[in-house]
């Protein structure tokens, strides 16, 4: 551990480290620009990670969403251990899998890993994960009953062997997914992004006379680890509990979360014992994914400035009983596991508020709502994803922002783009006054978004909403945010999660929850209240 300080001085390390990050960022930009998947390109739902030959991450693309934190290294370590031992890799090999338990928790997320050879020696790996347009099975959403309904699963398989494509695998893919050109196009884009990263890395090695990656890997990993450990050391030791309820199906079968966070010295353990069992809807999370969304708020609270790599996560342990909602086992359905992942920050910050109240934010109006529309428009089949966010939670020193994505980071689809792609007309998009939790600092407002089917055919809707029965919980005496709702006109029952149809002329009215407040509302600045009134944030 100590050799790093002597191998790279603080100047050389600073320079090489930013080069490593710029390599993965560059590859990420290419991937985003060339991908078809809305989720990848508009919502940064991808990651590029550079790893050493042990599969430890050295650098991760900086705009990636949290769901992929730590996932590629876990996958690569598993590939090395159980599928393709180190000595079997050849230059030009590329391995693909979308196994949710090895990868990112549901089948649309495809992991692609390539080895990096320098002067005929394997020096590391580069991997990308991206959300593919489709993997077959039922339309993506919360409505599947088991993992088999969620489409094709490719166990770790060589997509390319020494540069030669695995035609059988490509053929199977082409015949099993919707919009096959786009899905396969995106897989190729991932391979190309890996190649670009490899090229840039080799250039860096040459320019700096490095013949191996190991020392540099040790140096950056140790530095990130040290930063995280020091921040944890500064926090008070203790065990902090928090419990939290979410919608589940939104019809009465909810989910319950229990967390115990234990900080001891420079280590932190998050345990989910007491959390409800696997849900019948496809909102179950595998442990990889739970780890990512638990480690993310911990990193935000303790070490937000230090670039992340394996070292950032060594001091973090996440445990959950096998088979529960956050450690789901086969054949639990997983499709919309993001709903569950998106709630973990609430639980983690809720517990951490008792230890480091100035390093956390109040609960957000999450999870991000995901709506998939499928049907026919202008003679063509469309599958359109779009996203809506609720209010952001208040901070210890400022209000929450209105309508802002957290913990995922997903942009909305412009109204005019949606109307181009699908036979709908949007009838309202506005901030929702009075929806934020009160507090010394208030939460951010939620929003209302309504749209109408103006076509002649019904549109299939896969709906993932959250907090239509529960709320964003205020912390340290802060108030709760307002809950959301899903309504349809003319009025009838419409499921908050799962599949239904929007018939011609029907209008769907979605009200997204507000963010929660922080601190006692009695302590709120009078001027801030007056401003909120003038602007109509409160009435």
């Amino acid at each position: 551990m100590q050799q790093t300080a002597t191998t790279f001085d603080p100047i050389a390390l600073s320079i090489l480290w930013s080069r490593l990050i710029s390599i993965v960022d560059e590859a990420g930009t290419t991937l985003q620009r060339t991908s078809f998947s809305t989720v990848t390109r508009e919502s940064n739902d991808f990651a590029v990670v550079l790893m050493d030959r042990k599969g430890r991450s050295i650098a991760q693309s900086s705009v990636s969403v949290p769901s992929f934190l730590g996932v590629l290294p876990i996958l690569t370590k598993a590939l090395l251990k159980d599928y393709f031992p180190l000595e079997t890799w050849k230059e030009g090999d590329v391995v693909m899998t979308n196994d949710p338990w090895l990868c990112a928790g549901h089948k649309p997320d495809i992991g692609i890993v390539s080895p990096i050879f320098f002067e005929e020696k394997l020096i590391g790996f580069i991997g990308t994960i991206a959300h593919s347009p489709d993997m077959g099975g039922q339309l993506w959403g919360a409505g599947t009953r088991d993992v088999y309904e969620e489409g094709l699963m490719v166990p770790p398989t060589k997509l390319l062997s020494e540069g030669k494509p695995n035609e059988t695998l490509f053929n199977i893919l082409m015949h099993n997914v919707r919009a096959a050109d786009q899905t396969v196009g995106d897989i190729r884009a991932q391979v190309a992004a890996n190649d670009q990263g490899i090229k840039s890395l080799l250039k860096l090695m040459e320019e700096n006379n490095l013949d191996d990656l190991q020392e540099l890997a040790d140096a950056v990993i140790n530095a990130s680890e040290k930063a995280m450990r020091e921040a944890l050391l500064a926090a008070p030791d203790g065990s902090y509990q928090y419990s939290y309820d979410t919608d589940g199906d939104g019809l009465g079968t909810g989910c319950h979360f229990e967390i115990t966070i234990t900080i001891k010295g420079d280590e932190i353990v998050a345990d989910y014992t007491g959390t409800s069992g696997a849900h019948y809807m496809s909102i179950n999370a595998v442990l990889n994914y739970t780890f990512a969304y638990t480690a993310y708020p911990i990193k935000c609270a303790f070490s937000p400035d230090v670039p992340n790599n394996d070292g950032s996560f060594y001091p973090i342990t996440v445990t959950a009983p096998e088979g529960c909602l956050v450690n789901a086992q086969k054949p639990s359905p997983l499709g919309a596991r993001n709903v569950t992942g998106n709630m973990l920050h609430s639980v983690v910050f809720g517990a951490l508020a008792k230890a480091v109240p100035n390093q956390v934010q109040a609960d957000c109006g999450s999870a991000c709502w995901c709506i998939v529309l499928n049907g026919e428009h202008k003679g063509k089949e469309f599958v359109e994803y779009f996203f809506l966010n609720g209010g952001y939670g208040a901070r210890p020193n400022m209000d929450g922002e209105h309508v802002l994505s957290f913990p995922t980071n997903v942009a909305n689809v412009p109204i005019e783009v949606l109307e181009t792609d699908v036979a709908v007309m949007v009838t309202e998009k506005s901030l929702l006054p009075n929806s934020a939790g009160e507090g010394e600092f208030r939460g951010g407002l939620g929003q209302r978004f309504s749209f109408k089917n103006i076509g002649e055919k019904p549109i299939n809707v896969s709906m993932i909403s959250e907090k239509t029965q529960t709320v964003a919980k205020g912390i340290l005496e802060g108030g709760d945010g307002q809950m959301g709702s899903v309504q349809i006109l003319p009025e009838r029952k419409f499921p908050p999660k799962g599949l239904d149809k929007l018939f011609p002329g029907e209008e769907l009215i979605l009200t997204l929850p507000g963010g929660a407040g922080y601190g006692n509302p009695a302590d709120r600045d009078k001027e801030a209240i007056a401003t909120d009134r003038i602007l109509g944030y409160i009435s």
Partner: protein, 690 residues
């Protein structure tokens, strides 16, 4: 005689081209606040007194200013209201719902330029094809106008949903306002940015309205004062795309002035490139707080339509207000002379992006700054001359620079002051080279294939280091490196750019309709040029379309074939798209349909010829060689380095690096393993050996 005037934050720069003698003249005055025209006329007076050129003899003036940018950054625009389709008043505030920093839970998003209580909805709706679904409720316009007047509104942005497909409702609202509230400025989104994506269009429209009253007043004053002074020539204004517009054009769409200064710099790069017969150049411009890099490829800078103004975090993508106007594609990074160096939480040396600015400034300025900066490092290393900063106008304090570096960096890191200073110099160079490399790579090009041109106050100090990191073969430090933007103004063409959103698969295009709108856009352009006295026969037309594979979300720009388009031109368009796509992303996708999104027609006047015979400088017959001083280079440590006076350099003079060349606005630092050659115009050409 033509005059370029560039108002920057600190200085107002002047470049005068005398077309009788083919000579260039430079001047610099302090920018004056609150009325920058005072500074302009100080400079005009100086030009007359020093060189004998009165303003009334000039045939043309080209102007650029930071006024618009500063109004947005400092939120000093007009009291502005915003009118949109009822039910969508909050689109301007909601934005894209995305964070610009993943790990910072304490981030703040940019506040909209128009607050919620001044955003008003009108009942109307047009569908995506442009069909009216709900007619505009004209009866509501009267009370709306009264509300605006009661609130003391000076300017109004009007952006209705799908107005790029049907402009009628926006026009009606605008016409009503101009008839009933004639003193109120208004901006229509269908004129400012007729493109799909309501938030981005709203943002540009609101911003245009927000800056319009101050820009309008300023430009009117500017013009009036010039006319009073007897100036009778044409006045043109530099815009962000490296083109010129008229005063009227600028008053109507002031947001196009946002990047006029940097665009001028890039156009100067184009000019120098042509002059030095370098078709492909990387322009590197480094000042007090930022550095910029811009690619000139085959003699042209690339234009992008992605731009943000007024960022909450200056160098963080996504933290500003989007403005989709054509802008010369350059990257800006937080690396300048004032950038502060620190030891970060994990014990590594980092530089920037925050800057000590001019107050308190670097420690060596002696103005109370205690943080070590890039300038402090450059001074400690001997690159800067403590007695000849800004030509000796400002004395630098070496001891203060050393103390700042020692206490804040060298001691905590356990290294020498020189090593810490070299660390700062190297890291800032590395940051700039990294950013430049990514910028070039994103265009699918190889940075090693570009020679570099360096300017700006700190540019010549760092250009050599950056060039080395990029494996650049030749580095050029041009004459006039301190006033490049103003020079660029004089070599930019007058042009009109028209935009039209029309989304359709290539193979499904209605050719008659397509040719008709392209023709209309072209004719509008000719009319615009006529206002600057440019005839149709002298104009060039560029028609481009932004297209993508059907289903993608990012477009690339393709030049359309000349003449009317029809089914026969499809293969040619496809070929061009595939070529560009392969160039950028290495490989095309077989069998995918292509889709056209936004169409642009640029009608451009001739690029002003400027056959410069001589760059006038305050010449000197003295020896250029001033002696040696101790300068620290990474490879050698301190050595006795020759120092030259830029003004006394003779054409064709040659020497080897290392060397320091001093001039008033900057210092050129030349490392070892290089040869220096002065060309006939006194540009410095540096060849690097590897």
């Amino acid at each position: 005689m033509k005059l370029g005037i560039d108002i920057g934050g600190t200085f107002t720069d002047f470049v005068l081209f005398d077309d009788r003698s083919n000579q260039l003249y430079f001047a610099k005055t302090l920018t004056t606040y609150p009325d920058p025209t005072v500074g302009i006329f100080n400079g005009v007076k100086e030009l007359e007194e020093k060189f004998g050129f009165p303003v009334k003899e000039m045939s043309g003036i080209v102007h650029g200013t930071t006024l618009v940018t500063n109004a947005v950054i400092e939120r000093k625009g007009a009291k502005t209201a915003f009118i949109t389709t009822k039910g969508f008043e909050d689109v301007l505030e909601i934005g894209r719902e995305m964070r610009y920093d993943i790990y910072d839970i304490f981030l703040t998003m940019p506040k909209p330029l128009v607050p919620r209580n001044l955003r008003m909805g009108v009942s109307e709706r047009v569908d995506i094809q442009g069909n009216v679904v709900t007619p505009l409720d004209e009866s509501a316009l009267q009370s709306l106008t009264t509300t605006l007047q009661e609130n003391g509104i000076e300017a109004v942005g009007i952006c209705l949903l799908n107005s790029f497909a049907n402009t009628a409702h926006e026009k009606t609202v605008g016409e009503y306002l101009s008839a009933h509230a004639p003193n109120m400025y208004y901006s229509l989104s269908s004129e400012i940015m007729p493109e799909i994506r309501e938030y981005e269009r709203s943002s540009a429209t609101a911003m245009n309205a927000y800056v319009q009253p101050i820009t309008d007043k300023y430009l009117k004053d500017f013009e009036t004062q010039l006319r009073v002074a007897g100036f009778e020539g044409n006045i043109n204004i530099m815009i962000s795309s490296g083109k010129l517009t008229t005063i009227d054009g600028a008053r109507k769409s002031p947001i196009h002035l946002l990047e006029s200064g940097p665009a001028g710099g890039a156009m100067a790069g184009v000019f120098y490139g042509k002059h030095l017969q370098e078709e492909n150049l990387l322009c590197f411009d480094m000042g007090g707080t930022t550095a910029k890099a811009c690619v000139i490829y085959e003699g042209e800078p690339e234009i992008t339509n992605h731009f943000e103004a007024g960022r909450v975090k200056r160098f963080k993508k996504g933290s500003g207000l989007p403005v989709r106007i054509p802008v010369i594609d350059l990257i800006e990074i937080g690396a300048g002379g004032g950038s502060i160096a620190r030891v970060n939480t994990i014990g590594l040396l980092t530089v920037g992006p925050d800057s000590a600015s001019s107050t308190p400034g670097p420690a060596c300025y002696n103005l109370g700054g205690e943080d070590p900066t890039v300038t402090d490092a450059d001074l400690v290393l001997g690159y800067l001359n403590a007695d000849y900063f800004l030509g000796g106008e400002m004395k630098l304090n070496v001891a203060a620079a050393r103390t700042a570096i020692e206490t804040k960096l060298a001691k905590p890191l356990g290294i020498s002051i020189e090593d810490a200073a070299m660390g700062i110099h190297k890291i800032v160079n590395e940051n700039m080279a990294n950013a430049a490399r990514v910028h070039v790579l994103e265009k699918g090009m190889d940075p090693r294939h570009f020679n570099m041109i360096g300017f700006g106050g700190a540019g010549p100090v760092h250009a050599f280091g950056v060039a080395k990191l990029l494996n650049t073969k030749r580095l050029i430090i041009p004459v006039g490196a301190g006033v490049t933007s103003a020079l660029g103004f004089l070599v930019s063409p007058v042009a009109s750019e028209k935009i039209h959103s029309h989304i359709s698969e290539l193979r499904a295009l209605n050719w008659e309709e397509t040719n008709a709108f392209l023709r209309d856009m072209e004719n509008d352009g000719y009319q615009f040029l006529a206002q600057s006295g440019i005839q149709k026969k002298d104009a060039t037309v560029q028609r481009v379309v932004e297209m993508r594979y059907y289903g993608q979300g990012h477009e690339i720009t393709i030049e359309l074939p000349e003449g009317p388009l029809d089914a026969e031109t499809i293969p040619e368009i496809e070929k061009r798209f595939i070529k560009e796509y392969e160039f950028r992303y290495n490989r095309a996708i077989e069998g995918m349909q292509m889709e056209m999104v936004t169409w642009r027609v640029v009608v451009q006047g001739p690029v002003p010829e400027m056959e410069v015979k001589q760059f006038s400088t305050t010449g000197s017959d003295a020896q250029a060689y001033k002696g040696t001083r101790k300068v620290f280079f990474e490879e050698t440590g301190y050595l006795d380095c020759p120092v030259y006076d830029r003004y006394a350099l003779k054409p064709d003079e040659r020497f080897d690096g290392p060397a320091i060349i001093e001039e008033t606005e900057s210092t050129t630092v030349i490392g070892i393993n290089s040869t220096v050659q002065v060309d006939k115009d006194k540009n410095i050409l540096i060849d690097l050996q590897y």
